[in-house]
Symmetry: C2
């Protein structure tokens, strides 16, 4: 008898954890991703701010799963799902048949109906996003060095982050330190330490999902660091030269979007009605009501918790979801049809503000300040995939900590001949 | 009195060494480069073959020169030189005036009049070139995993390097090890160890500039490693599916060009007649005959040695040239007009063949085999710019040496939405 075929779409936290949780089961797994790498997204902001290199936080998916001979990894772009024929459709290849399907394709940033803002305010979800933001940040300082007009130079050295969730807060802190410490003394006309870093949030507090006391501490820590935090002001317009919030105009060269996400198009593939954020509504066991053999996990799915609060869009929720889908499949294969509802366990909240402060809330313990920063660092190194990367990241962080020097200050991307990096200064 | 203004165009080995050799002189230096980073080109092939990450071999130029308060670093694209007005013209900025000008803009790969070959056989000169080749290499294995037809799969797993100078030889060795060691056991359909690596050279030997015995040893070491070396066969045609040499057709997915270079357009800027390779013909002191205040060094210049042999296009020659131009400027400022002809001192030749063999020829000592490999590695770590990178590269190499695992196996570049990486498999 042919073995039960499980197809997993997406090699992020959800998909990878599903594949791992299927280890030893009598199934044949195919993991499909359009990228060859699994990405440790919590540290992506450190690539965007030149602290870590791309390869320090990404690993080839097939390498992670190399010892699992029951798993085939495919680099392919999924174009749809044939739910009747039970196959996943991919670009330029034969459909991949499944008995059970796990969709874990995550989310992209979303602009609340203002898609034209993306060109001016890129978001941070992929390695390419990170190197794009890194380029934009570093080019702003370079352009300021060449700018004779002081007012124009001020706009070039104004950095705006929209959205004060963990990504926005961590980006703001890192950009301040990039300007004040890393770039200190390297420019002759522009003064990097005069850079303004502005964090704009529509809600009335930063880190809105955290406990109020940690949220307040973070706000103070950001202000102490020199970040201008603007709360309760939704952004109304963004263009090439700046943005408008609360009727006020702010001229800025470099704007980063950290405010909202939209789920991947899984609902369209499955022809089901998504929620407002594009997510597939799933049953308590994470399966799709009309198709119990299909599971959707992580940022692509929406499920109500027992207390009615939504499961947060964090990596750990995706991990737990992937593992849960695998467990439901294993139970079914054993003939066990007891309903197995997903129970999200919130492990904790962490965020850093620059390189000397952080907030941590594990429920049973809450920390803030420098001790939290060290716990944050050690926890993140622990969660990296392999020993080589743990050593490399530890070395990079130690270096930044001791010398202030970030080692990945590269302006790259774009073909050298047709699109020299400098052109973008004038285009944008 | 205004200080003497030296403008240096290019922050490679030549330009950087000129800037360094002007330290302490009573001059004002402006270094202009279209890239923000100095690149350690001898290790670029290791980025292309996923051994090192981009930031391990590149440093921001302004960071290297941060303590030199007499140096201003400008990120700008030079568009020409106004030799009468003594200014360097840049895109989107005011012309930069000079009293002395040093041009050190290097070379790009050249296709001997077949520019259409570039799209099928990229060359290796910049970080973007390296990540493009890395992507092409890694995508070939991914496409092979999805290819049901064995013949087609064979073409996908055929890697051709054109040109057997140090870059070609080092690429060939690294690709064999990538296929045999790093990717071993990670694919379910394709067998990476069945990959063919073919090195084609128009001349009758590999490493043509090395002593015959080292050249012969390298040929044997390449063949022992499993590289198919084809000598005395110029390539006649290249297209999307393969190439033709000596009337024979070879189907190959991934072709890399390591055969020829063309100087940057400095001759056009200066309106002087270049040699066949586009290089500016310079006087014995490296100045341009019609403009003694302009110097051209490195791969952009051609100068005859005393014995009539050309100075080789290697990093060390550019370094010596940059230093020499600086010395001539310093002598002139002292009022010393004694002719100061450039004398190139050949320090030696080095090349590695895979991770266990190398050839080294310092004149007074010649080494081959594993000892040469260790000397090669230590020499290269020594030549890196800063301590952090020395540690990082040493860690990466140690890891590859012990585990065979390369840590920069990322397929990146291109915008995720509009140009997913997988598309290139089918396009090329």
């Amino acid at each position: 008898m042919a073995r039960h075929k499980v197809v997993i779409v997406g090699g992020g936290f959800g998909g990878l954890s599903a594949a791992q949780a299927l280890g030893g089961a009598d199934v044949e797994v195919t993991l499909i991703d359009r990228r060859n790498h699994h990405l440790f997204q919590p540290l992506l902001y450190q690539v965007a701010t030149a602290s870590l290199s791309t390869s320090e936080i990404a690993w080839p998916i097939r390498h992670i799963l190399r010892k699992r001979h029951d798993v085939t990894t495919l680099l392919a772009r999924v174009t749809g799902v044939d739910v009747a024929g039970k196959t996943v459709l991919i670009a330029d290849g034969a459909p991949v048949p499944y008995d059970s399907l796990i969709i874990a394709t995550g989310a992209r940033h979303a602009y609340f109906g203002h898609d034209d803002w993306e060109q001016f305010a890129p978001g941070l979800k992929t390695l390419e996003d990170a190197t794009t933001i890194r380029r934009k940040l570093l080019l702003a300082f370079e352009a300021a060095e060449r700018e004779p007009d002081p007012e124009q130079r001020g706009a070039l050295l104004t950095f705006v982050i929209i959205g004060a969730g963990p990504t926005g807060v961590e980006l703001a802190g890192a950009i301040v330190e990039l300007a004040r410490e890393t770039l200190k003394g390297e420019f002759r006309c522009a003064d990097p330490s005069s850079a303004r870093v502005v964090l704009i949030e529509a809600a009335n507090k930063v880190l809105g999902n955290f406990r109020p006391e940690l949220s307040e501490y973070s706000l103070q820590a950001l202000r102490d660091l020199g970040v201008e935090v603007i709360l309760g002001e939704p952004v109304e317009a963004i263009d090439a030269d700046g943005l408008v919030y609360g009727g006020k105009r702010l001229d800025a060269e470099c704007i980063i979007w950290a405010a909202g996400v939209q789920a991947s198009p899984a609902a369209k593939w499955l022809d089901v009605e998504p929620d407002k954020a594009g997510r597939v509504k799933v049953a308590p066991d994470l399966s799709v009501p009309a198709h119990p053999e299909i599971f959707v996990v992580g940022d692509t799915a929406t499920i109500a918790k027992a207390d009615g609060k939504p499961v947060p869009g964090v990596g750990d929720a995706a991990k737990q979801g992937g593992k849960h889908a695998a467990q439901v499949i294993r139970a079914r294969l054993r003939g066990d049809t007891t309903p197995l509802p997903f129970r999200y366990k919130h492990a904790g909240d962490l965020a850093t503000i620059g390189k000397r402060a952080a907030v941590i809330d594990f429920g049973w313990i809450r920390l803030k300040g420098w001790l939290a920063w060290w716990v944050w660092g050690i926890a993140h190194i622990y969660f990296l995939i392999d020993t080589k990367n743990r050593l490399a990241v530890a070395l990079s962080w130690l270096w930044i900590y001791l010398s202030g020097q970030r080692s990945a200050r590269l302006i790259t991307q774009g073909d050298a001949e047709t699109r020299p990096p400098i052109n973008d200064v004038t285009e944008s």
